[in-house]
Amino acid sequence: MRGSDRDAFSKRHPLVNFVFFIGAIGCAAVIQHPVYLLAGAIGAGSYHLLLNGRKGWRMILGMIPMFLFLTAVNPLFNIYGATVLFHVFGRPYTMEALMYGAAIAAVFMVMLLWFGCYNVVLTSDKFTSLFGDLIPALSLLLVMVLRMIPNFLRKAKQLMGARRSIGKGAGEESTTKEKLSDGMTVLSALTDWALEGSVITGDSMRARGYGVAKRTSFQIYRMTCMDWTLLALISLLLAVVIGFAAGGSTAASFTPDLFFAPIAGWDALGLIAYCLFLLIPTALHVKEAIQWHISRSKI
């Protein structure tokens, strides 16, 4: 939930972050061409590791069983495919379906990795500041909810602690029924407390002029020159990738026969654009590290 400044890309304007992730996740969701998939996996994986360090490795390794499972399961549902490996329950288990399964599992994993990065980079305040002007009431609502959640979590804890210190409330040794009934009591008391407080919050909003004019939204993030450049670059590269994809150069089909669009000649341009696009966050990080190194050696 903290405003993230872990790396160079996180420090960029939320709009740059948001457009990048929409592009990266959108492409990952649609393109199944194995070479593009590999590029996506490398792009997402490297940025994920950069953000999360050792924890990132754990997550990536943890994905492997899931990947294998999804791959192996697919042929059970999808029986099309020319090369039958064996039969399960009388249904053919084909090599093409297995490949297809692997591709889909890879798509899923790459998306998860990108979302992992998204969660670190696009913190709640960045998200709400993006939509502050577009949907002011909703983004204020979201901001208020995000403010209240930790508050209520704390109050719930406080209620439970207070009840325990007068011998009420459920402990570890209570039966599930007791826990349930006490939980409901606390939930209901929490609601009371929260609604009571909401009257004050409402007063505080009106006292500070909520509703007297058309709201503006304070932009704590400003688009710098660098941000505009990056945004233009991201948009350009995405447009190239989408253009080539529409032209069929990312086409891949698995069943009944394997077919991958060849990457040769002009089509290589689409892949190159895709790779450049995916490497933007990692490249920014490397660039900053080098700059920092140089400026430090000058001191």
Partner: protein
Amino acid sequence: MAHFEIKDLTFSYPAAKGKRSLEDVCLSIKKGEYIVLCGKSGSGKTTLLRHLKSVLAPHGKRGGEILFNGVPLEKVSQRDQSAKIGYVMQDPDDQIVTDKVWHELAFGLESLGCDQKTMRARVAEMACYFGIGDWFHRDVANLSGGQKQLLNLASIMAMQPEVLILDEPTSQLDPIAASDFLNTVRKINLELGTTVIITEHRLEDIFPYADRAIVMDGGKVIADDTPRRIGKLLYEQGSDMFSAMPTPVRVFYGAGGEGECPLTVREGRNWLSRVFPEAPGVSSFPAEDLAEEVADPALLLKELWFRYEKDSPDILRGVSAEVATGSLYAIVGGNGAGKSTTLKAICGICKPYRGKVKVFGKPVEKYKSGELFHGCLAMLPQDPKSLFVKKTVREDLEEMTRDKALIEQIAATCQITELLDSHPYDLSGGEQQRAALAKVLLTKPRLLLLDEPTKGIDSFFKETFAAILGQLKEQGITIVMVSHDVEFCARYADRVSMFFDGQILTTDTPRRFFGSNSFYTTAANRMSRHVFQNAVTAGDVVELYKRNREG
């Protein structure tokens, strides 16, 4: 022209059946004045303040007129009122709307539809003025109570109000945060000329700077004068508001002092020096002996060590204490020192990783589940609201026992018999405290733990509360109390302990404890320590003064 002109304001709530909450209030408030409004809870202070801002004015029957800068308030546009009349409420938490400090600072400006440039400038200005720079990017959830209230003030000041209205802004804060807050308010008044209208229990921190003090009782203004003269008025009227006056004022009139009334400790010292140019004949109360060994302690703590997480720092670092049966034992000390954690460790909510807790001679972990909290030990939490789970006080009490007679009896002890059918949230702070105490007492504890029991309640409720504690002590109940309220501990405790850095450092009788401290002590002691050796309450000073003058 007066800033606010209140003419014959009369108001009654719809449910009050004609009983007036405000009666013929006439006031004129000049630009730049610093006005403190005092009165018991329920005297109509908040009702009056809320009338000064249309969106907050309560619904009900109203007569009279309020002029703001000469214009009837209802004719002043909402927009102008929002910007020009700032209003800070009591609860630091619930006033905050957004999740980030910077966003909260900008909230009012956003509402008014300011452009980016103005907002940037004003937000930056406020962050600097209030010293918020360091926590500008933080989540509101991670702020302390004092920081939250300062943020509320700053986010109102960002709109550049002409008047600042504060309704008991420090009642939920600890003393240090409270005086920081009040200093900031004073700075705003002095440096910006903002008119300040404040209600507050902590008159000692405000009186020296206020231009006028207005006292309300039963919806009427009963006194309106400079702080220096208001004490005399109240003393002569025999008003019970007198007991809320700052210590020097109480001592001065209590002792029958002559001349100009002192308002601050410094003035009080000077006055005493003038009265006693030479050391007085009787300069102290007889020394008390502190019993070395407590026979049969109700509570024994031995070398408690505790931390919340495995790799977080220790909160308790070898806490040891003995509490005699039937006594009122107070633990004082700074914020975050671990006082509340100690209480939690006694209850078994926190489990110390080293050390022993013995309740009535038996280790706490040897008590069977349920046994400890029935007829043995109970705790009143800091926020009494955390004990209320039902629609009426009565239902809440019935959650504890089916014994109707016992409920009636305890309700009588706690003086809440008339409140039994009210919703717990409709009670005032002091009443909530007593209702919560009643709920706790229904477990028939022999050892009662109190966490900051005087927080947010005014001096009258404190006295009522102290009287109830006295009754409980007579019934043989041992009370352990954690508090910031030095004055309360000095007056009512049998033993006082200083908690610092995760340990209990010293324990003594209040007289010896506060008599030997020079900073961490009561106002009465600070004011008289150069003349009397161990006077710790206003009553003590008055008594020694009289003995010397008369004897």
